[in-house]
Amino acid sequence: MTLLEAVEVRKFYGTFCALDGVTLTIGRGQFVSIVGPNGAGKTTLVNVLTGLLAPTSGAVRFKGRDVAGLDPVRLARLGLARSFQLVHVFPGLTVAETLAVAVLARRRRGARLFASLAAERATWDEAAGVAELFGLADQLGRPARTLPQGDKKLLDVASAFALHPEVILLDEPTSGVSTADKHAVMAVLVEAARRLGIASIIQVEHDMDIVFGYSDRIVALHQGRVLADATPAELQANDEVMATIVGRAARRA
Amino acid sequence: MQRILNLACGSFYALGAYTGVSAVTWALGHGLPAPLFLLVLVASGLALAVIGPPVERLLRAVYDRDESFQLLLTFALVLMFEDVMRFVWGTAPVQLGNAYLVYGRLAVAGSTVPVYNLVVIAAGGLVALGMGGLLTHTRFGRIVRATAENREMSAALGVDLRRVYARVFTLGVALGTVGGALVIPATAAVNEMAIDVVVEAFAVVVIGGLGSMRGAFVGSLIVGVLKAGAIATWPEVEMLAIYVVVIGVLVLRPAGLFAGAAP
């Protein structure tokens, strides 16, 4: 079943064409990686898929609804969440508070003026549960700004997961994480997605080891076009694509 | 250019106005030929620019902080300047009398306009052109624009940011004080002129887009015309008009006509 689809999406920045007719469907239960060299349009695609950028032409639909122009709050309520390449945290909020913000927003309790935050048992329990999944359970009381970089990244992703989205888009979830730790991070993400009932993960990733190890499908972008959309096995058999798109990155990994 | 909103720029303007009155009164008292008073005004305005560097030095303490603190520090300056002016000139409006009429009047489109007003308009145009030339054609101008664009990059290229800021700031102060001095023959110097100017200037900058000189010029024309229009149609609300215009501008055109600088 199709959750998220892009149909013939074009995106121009002035005269520069960042996306040139991208068509893509993401079904329930898929782990899709978007790969391609720098400048291929990966981040633009993610931004268009999450409504942050309106496509110049074409359409992006999430569960049959057009996402262009939908603000992030509406998207989160529909079940689409994302994290950014650069870490976004609330520096002054603790880990528990950060996750509680997301939980409260999801449960539509964030606007409660005179309710006691301390009495929100269910919210704090759930926040602690998410923290546990991401290995942040013993950091609950720490302000985000004092966390090591890797934990900040995890907290950023965890707060998106706390929204229980159906689809989550992760822009380079392991950037800034040492190669040795990348697999551990991915294992955490996959397990957390399973436990929280997140149906599909879309990630932008450079590390081909990670891409081939975890994806059900790989979408290779080159100069704003979809060069290949295939399973890891199919892609590995395609020497031409591997050489032109993945070659350099594969060596780097 | 520096992306600092200076509430005190209005105080510089007011200070320029007060000083202008005193300087001209003193000069005329010492036998200065009346037509030369314009030069005295400009000179007194320029002389006042000496307060630029020390003030800039103070503001330097908060360049890297949140804008709110910059705003507050300039507010502190406003309070201080206000009492300085109160101390020196008192609270009553101070004016020059009719000295500005020495240049005579001119009939323009059926109404008489003091020539002095035309001189001021011309001076404004010259300053605008001069600034434009300075920014586009001189080394200093190029450095300033590059710095406004990207301070890290210019610092990396060896631009001494402190000196650039100090000079730009002093230049800004000088323009403010000379501006204040020039309008004084036509109006009285009062303490309240400070905030009106700040709010108007903010509207001008918002219309034109932050950091855009051409925008600032067009913006000031638009604000001037809107204000004049509002006053002409409903004279009782002169004071209100400025703020209505400013609010209208902020609400309708937050990013400015000439710049992509989003709020």
Partner: protein, 313 residues
């Protein structure tokens, strides 16, 4: 626990002040209480939501003029009715103003609120028939809980029943604000302050919450304004002037905007400092400008930042 003990001790001291301190000092506490309430609102915007308003005096003036208008024009003397009317009026005014202002942040928000404040000032100044122009409007002695206290002279009234009334209102406002800051809403506002983009992506309706905070702040400002007008017996346009807004921000910074009690400490400190400096020189603004500059540059966390360096959760 120590902090709570100190707060209670301070409250007890304030409750006993009329018995211990000379009447003049006690009457000085009244504007401090009034500003305390107004600043609680201002700090919900700045300290909690991260929006610096340079037009908060608009709502303080609105409260003062509500008290003046109701007592002199309409013969409404019940102070409870005045407070309720001021709160209601502030909310009504804050809705359109807030809707426009919260579309912006930082200096744009600051300048837009400043412009609205000055618009109100000009209105008060120009519409003489309605507002008394630059002379302002007198505020008559109100009834407190329906009682006129006619047997007391002005000082007796202010340092007696009105003092305790104001203190009680301040206590109520403090408890209400404490509740708001410690609610899910308060947490959401702090998230917005820390990183508005991120807040939106975890489902927080940034503008809507900022708008709520704006309206709440306005109500607190107006309630403070009603209290401010009674001791002076006058509502005048300068209450809405932008430097008054600036002074409010100054008080907040002086007390420490990062702390819940910063507004109250700031209001007390400002009022007593102002009294002291004004008794020494007519140019108190210059001294205060210098003081503000020192606070901004060297002690941006205010007085409470000196004694309690950790930002409380």
């Amino acid at each position: 626990m120590i902090r709570r003990g100190l707060a209670l001790a301070a409250a007890a001291l304030l409750a006993l002040a009329p018995l211990l301190a000379p009447p003049y000092q006690v009457t000085l506490l009244l504007p401090a209480f009034a500003y305390g309430i107004a600043l609680l609102g201002l700090n919900l915007l700045f300290g909690t939501a991260g929006l610096l308003s340079f037009g908060h005096a608009l709502f303080v003036a609105l409260g003062a003029y509500t008290a003046a208008g109701l007592t002199t024009r309409y013969g409404v003397l019940s102070f409870e009715a005045i407070v309720a009317a001021a709160a209601g009026l502030a909310a009504v005014v804050a809705v359109p103003v807030g809707l426009l202002c919260v579309r912006y942040v930082k200096i744009y928000f600051g300048m837009l609120t400043l412009a609205f404040g000055m618009l109100f000032y000009s209105f008060l100044y120009k519409f003489y028939a309605l507002t008394g122009g630059d002379e302002g409007l007198r505020v008559l002695r109100p009834l407190l809980l329906g009682r006129p206290f006619a047997e007391l002279d002005k000082v007796g009234f202010l340092t007696g029943p009105f003092y305790y009334y104001a203190l009680a209102l301040l206590a109520l406002a403090t408890l209400a604000m404490r509740r708001i800051v410690r609610s899910p809403f308060g947490l959401s506002l702090r998230a917005i302050r820390e990183n508005a983009d991120k807040a939106a992506f975890v489902g927080v309706s940034v503008r809507r919450y900022r708008f709520y905070a704006f309206v709440i702040a306005a109500v607190f400002g107006a309630v403070g304004g009603t209290l401010l007008a009674v001791p002076t017996g006058l509502a005048d346009p300068l209450l809405a002037y932008w430097t008054h807004s600036g002074n409010l921000v100054f008080m907040l910074l002086l007390g420490g905007f990062e702390h819940f009690l910063g507004p109250l400490v700031g209001a007390l400190a400002f009022i007593f400092l102002q009294d002291l400096v004004m008794s020494l020189t007519a140019y108190w603004r210059f001294v205060f400008g210098a003081l503000l500059a020192i606070v901004v540059v060297f002690f941006p966390r205010g007085l409470l930042g000196l004694v309690a360096p950790e930002r409380p959760a």
